[in-house]
Symmetry: C2
Subunit: 315 residues, 2 copies
Amino acid sequence: MLSTQPPILILTARAQQYQQLLEAALPDLTFIAAPTVEAARPVVEQTSIILGDPRPVRSLLNELPALRWVQCTWAGVDLLVEPGLRRDYILTNVRDVFGPLMAEYVLGYALMLERRGWQRFRAQMERRWDSTVAGTLRGKRLGLLGVGSIGGEIARMAHHFGMATLGYTRASEDCPHIDAYYHGDACLQMAAQCDYLVSTLPDTAASRRLVNRELLAALPPHAVFMNVGRGSVVDEDALMAALQEGSIAGAVLDVLETEPLPPEHPLWTVPNVLITSHTAAASFPTDIAPIFVENYRRFQAGEPLLYRVEFERGY
Amino acid sequence: MLSTQPPILILTARAQQYQQLLEAALPDLTFIAAPTVEAARPVVEQTSIILGDPRPVRSLLNELPALRWVQCTWAGVDLLVEPGLRRDYILTNVRDVFGPLMAEYVLGYALMLERRGWQRFRAQMERRWDSTVAGTLRGKRLGLLGVGSIGGEIARMAHHFGMATLGYTRASEDCPHIDAYYHGDACLQMAAQCDYLVSTLPDTAASRRLVNRELLAALPPHAVFMNVGRGSVVDEDALMAALQEGSIAGAVLDVLETEPLPPEHPLWTVPNVLITSHTAAASFPTDIAPIFVENYRRFQAGEPLLYRVEFERGY
């Protein structure tokens, strides 16, 4: 049977894996697997639908006259919503799938900090029995900057460990796993109570440099800051100063202003920082492909797509 | 008001802290705080009730003519149930309080292994952006050797992370957080399915060397073994060989045959082993004191005590 639909472009480093998954799920369609921008160039003229990583999609954005819909493989679409870029197509991202992975990251690092995992690892290198008592998450307070599907899942797991959860949002108060909400300037009030402060915020005009000198100064000295959202949310100079001065106890940073972080950057060796190189929540094709399949069905049926990005708002 | 009761001996390194907590809870009683065996010697003649760590209690065991009840501050009472020691008194230990801490330990280490926390830490030392994709606990299988209050709590938290749970017990099948039970020789069958195998077993005749060459060989090569129970459960030579040969992926050992592990012991530097120096679940006086208070009430009322140890069984 010949397909009546134009081919769908898969524009991601893992294009082959996506192609297998999508051909199995949508056998009547034709997919073009393009692991690089160059591999996609021969089909840009007729491409109307793309499943792709934000970076290569952005590179090709002005060479796609028939473009109607981009399903992004990531949650972070900041590269595609910058002012000046075209907005005459539907952009959808992926949400919900990252919550459990992000929760594993945040709880895993928080637990390992409580357990002094890296100090004990060093003691082992020195063949030293380090029986320093470990801490516990039970009874500690986790503050979230941003309570979307990711923040909600982190809060849910924090509750399972007996933590109290605080949430900073623009206005929403609809997550059942947050014990107390804060808005506007009350962010400082929330910070002052946190044992852990975790940013899940995307890169938007409202979030940029929210974690600045003032907010960091409001944290108690035993607090740990974690960033699983976007690097632009943090004033990195202020964060480095806070860590140097010991005005906070540590930072776990998955995302940074500049990625990859250059070898000469001072952040690598600031005391009590752990850098995890943007690995908190990978986009597994087995999680993402079903989202494309469902959205493709909706697209064909003229129904609203899941996880549509509002260009103005930025997420 | 003069107390009509003989003083109660508190025989533990943290005796002062226990004394404060118990004097607040039981103001009519007199407590003798003995941080060492020597400090306790002046009162051995009249002592009938002890709250204490197993090691000093054992040292004094034959010098206590009036002994009626020992409330141990630990879960592990193997030092007090060895054949040949007196058994003419009631011995109670502490349970239930360790489950949440043990679950934090097991899940924390499992998460950090999935996330390659120590490899990423090394990459950071080398100022290297290590974006190797992290694994997830979701869908993985956790096998438990022993499903008491500790194993049950570990299984409960493992379920929250989307893991499947397998339990090896003598006969009991009463934990709601275990998906499948195994008994007797089926231990090998369970091991063959595990991504993580965790021993919570106490030191008993039945558990000694249960984790031997045969059981380790049954584990898949990607499996990680964890021990939060007692060191005697493991044949350490067989475990070192399995790690050296790469027939299992790693081991996280909180308890060992000899503690503290001597600096010259080869286990310190076997590949893929993490040694945590018996810190998985500390006995916090704030958790233990209420158990003593409740058991003291029961003791005075002639009711059965909580967590009574059967000397024959060993736990």
